[in-house]
């Protein structure tokens, strides 16, 4: 009896119209899962802020995702290039105190171009973009004071150039 009654209630009337409190509980329960708030013991819920280490880790996750999926294997890219990656890299480049922080934007740029090259490899229609991508890589590699990890990443421009020659032949 109770079960049928509750089923009718759920089917006929939207629960958030009936139970305002339930809606409030549901929303507040979603906030920690979305990462907007966090339970902080006696202080209760508080709004989370992305620290510079968290943003640095986000850029690192993107770097690893692109490196492992796009370059290492033929798996699809798990964490695609997006605004949040650019914003995180820009924030670290602006406020970071490490010597290589200012090059994180370049790293994100290189990896996004590698993503594009990967897409171009799978479709010949994007071949016209390759000379521009190669030129951008060359300009970036000519920058003075590049850290070693970015120099290693730029080695992939040779892969791009050889792939271009292969496809154009």
């Amino acid at each position: 009896m109770l079960r049928s009654f509750s089923c009718c209630t759920w089917l006929l009337v939207r629960v958030d119209q009936v139970y305002a409190e339930f809606r409030l509980i549901r929303v507040t329960g979603m906030l920690p899962e979305l990462g907007l708030t966090a339970w902080d013991g006696k202080a209760g819920f508080r709004v989370t802020t992305q620290t510079i280490d968290a943003q640095r880790a986000l850029v690192g996750t993107y770097y690893l995702s692109c490196g492992i999926c796009v370059l290492g294997t033929s798996q699809p890219q798990m964490l695609p290039h997006g605004d949040c990656i650019i914003q995180a890299a820009a924030h670290v480049a602006r406020y970071g105190e490490q010597p290589g922080d200012k090059h994180l934007m370049s790293l994100v740029f290189v990896m996004s171009r590698i993503e594009k090259v990967r897409l171009a490899l799978s479709s010949k229609g994007s071949l016209h973009e390759w000379p521009r991508i190669q030129r951008e890589f060359d300009e970036l590699s000519a920058m003075p004071g590049l850290p070693p990890w970015l120099q290693t990443t730029l080695l992939y421009r040779y892969v791009i150039s050889s792939a271009t020659k292969f496809w154009l032949c």
């Binding site: 968290a54 690192g60 964490l79 490490q98």
Partner: protein, 105 residues
Amino acid sequence: MSRLCPFVIIADTTTAEALLQHHPFILCAILVITTAYEVPEQNAFDAAFRELLAKTVIIEGKRSLDYLQGLLIYLSWHQTSFRHENAQVFQLLHMAIGKSGPGVR
């Protein structure tokens, strides 16, 4: 190490004791990748790393920057501890991506 992997910064003055106290997962990941030439020790550390990961992240559902940074270190040098029988690079990478959301502190 931070010079080659600029995504996890550990100060030069940080001791192993401080890491064990505040960032045990990072210390465990460092121990796994730095014992590449001592296979039995590396296997033991690798098992401890995976057990700690499963216990805290999967069973207890904790979200912390410590786990994400440890995963990044482990995945950045995964070739040093790669074994065919328990290779989980993509699973761990998925886990790192899931943990790199806005809730990480």
